[in-house]
Amino acid sequence: MDSNFVNNAIVNKDNIFYKELKVKHLKTIYKCLFGDDPNTNVVIRNLNNILCELTSLPLSKIEALNFVDYFLLLFELRCTSIGNIISAELPETPNYKLQINIYKFTEALEKIKTNELLAVDSIDNIKIHYRLPTLLEVNKLIENNTVEDIYITLLDKIVIKDIEIDLKQLDKKSIITILEKLPAKITYTIANKAYIVLDKFNEINLLSYIPEMVERCLYFNFNIKNLILLLKLLFGDQLLSLYENIFALCKMGNFTPEYIENCTPGEYLLFHKKLEQIRSQQTAPIQSSNLNINTNSNFDDINPYNSPDLPPITSRSEFTP
């Protein structure tokens, strides 16, 4: 089964067409995010492949998306495929479900106004153009974070007397050689810009709009650990529940695993609820606890994450590079 439903997202003024997520994509995401310390490289590579499969962008363009645009696209994909609300339960209020609206995350990222933040610096006939790093570059910052690494991830191109040097096309060694030959005041300007950009991102707490979350923070900054937590919040990591549910649908609903995996998350949940409804009308009701399905949800609610085992929300973590 292949849905032909196509949606479009405007990301940084570009129109990107995309298809909904399928259960098989969710399974891949769950696998990547499984555990307390997922391999960030694996998460990014797999997400890139999924985005390549579902969007109108080739892999090279997906890899080149800056991490803000990347997440804006993921937010769109999540909202269209699963819904814009994440239900979370706080340990101190176990019976109260907190509603986190992903559109508020989108608003927070759009408020950054990257064009203004990354305005071109011009000194003595040298123009410095900046950019935001890709998700892979953010990931590398945590492994090897010298000051130069941060500058390199923010530098787009340098224009000297109308001659344009595209730094993205050069290797790290060449960029460092160029940086070292640049006048000192240019480097100071770059350093100053880097501080402004990092400070700006360190102020973005995606949960700040929720009064109940005053004690908790989820920073959207250059720290890959925070971005992985955000992914866990967006998609969850309930791999075992997914396997159990696919098994139940195949055994009791006579679906094939291939069919289920090619369903959209909404379709998948709908089939589950329907099967549960039929079974409950018969003599032996399905043990919902074994299936990890919320029996009290109505059919309109197609959020499969409406369960209390959402990933933990972190306390404030500092930008480490």
Binding site: I160, K161, I163, D166, Q169, L179
Partner: protein, 275 residues
């Protein structure tokens, strides 16, 4: 179709041209003229910062790095930059900060200073461009002076970069090979004598000329130690007069209130190039 990656050599050539086309001038009192210098590069700035890690008694590494930068960046072909004096170097040090980084210097304030001078913040920013100009307007010159005591004579003058570098290299070599705690007092003494020796360009004792430049470090120290104290006192006075004058440049007056002025010293080391 992607554009080919730019050639790194072409870029470096472009930057080299840029260095010279965006030059600046620094007044050299020893030549009584403005000299043109190319921009301080990031690499040079990094090399200055590195000297902050390896500090020693007289900040020898910083002096060497600064001497090298001055010689490397001087664009005057007809000038032998190594013959510029330590005074020229000081002006280069200040002007390069102004031209290549910023004319604004941030001085951190101690809690005592904040309390005593009623500052609202824990730092104060000063534009030193005007401060430098005021100093230059005084047109201080430090000429060669001859001092005679009985049959002995010394000639004092500001050392040039060649002498400055040579003497500091010698001192560095001597102190590196002799760094035991027991010899620390000797090192301090030798360092002091070495500094004095830099300013003595010639010695004549009993009609015999002694070429200090031709002597090795230990011999120079021994010669100065053997000189009459009254003769060396003249040299010390000469140095003191110079240091006193340049302190007017290295000390910045900050108007705290209407009648109160706080003085802060410009650090003559790599930390001056911090922003």
């Amino acid at each position: 179709m992607s554009t080919p990656a730019p050639d790194i050599n072409d870029i470096l050539k472009l930057l080299k041209d840029f260095e010279t086309s965006h030059s600046y001038t620094v007044y050299a009192p020893s030549l009584e003229k403005e000299l043109t210098y190319k921009q301080l590069t990031t690499q040079q700035l990094k090399s200055l910062y590195k000297t902050s890690i390896n500090t020693n008694l007289l900040n020898l590494e910083f002096n060497q790095v600064l001497n090298n930068i001055l010689k490397e960046n001087c664009l005057e072909k007809e000038i032998d930059a190594s013959k510029l004096t330590v005074y020229d170097k000081l002006l280069f040090f200040i002007k390069t900060r102004i031209e290549c980084i910023s004319s604004e210097i941030k001085f951190n304030l101690t809690q005592d200073e904040i309390d005593a001078f009623n500052f609202a913040e824990n730092s104060v920013t000063v534009d030193i461009k005007e401060h430098l100009q005021k100093f230059l307007d005084k047109k201080y010159q430090f000429t060669k002076e001859t001092f005679t005591v009985n049959d002995s004579q010394i000639i004092c003058e500001l050392p040039n970069l060649e002498i400055d570098s040579k003497f500091e290299n010698d001192l560095n070599t001597a102190t590196i090979s002799d760094t035991t705690t027991d010899n620390f007092a000797n090192i301090v003494g030798d360092t002091f004598i070495n500094e004095v020796t830099k300013y003595i360009s010639a010695i004549r004792i009993n009609n015999t000329d002694i070429d200090l430049l031709a002597c090795d470090f230990k011999t120079r120290i021994e010669i100065i130690k053997a000189c009459p104290a009254s003769l060396i006192k003249n040299a010390l006075n000469y140095i003191e007069a110079y240091k006193q004058k340049i302190s007017e440049l290295l000390i910045v007056n900050i108007q705290a209130n209407k009648d109160i002025v706080l003085t802060k010293e410009i650090p003559y080391d790599a930390s001056f190039y911090n922003v």
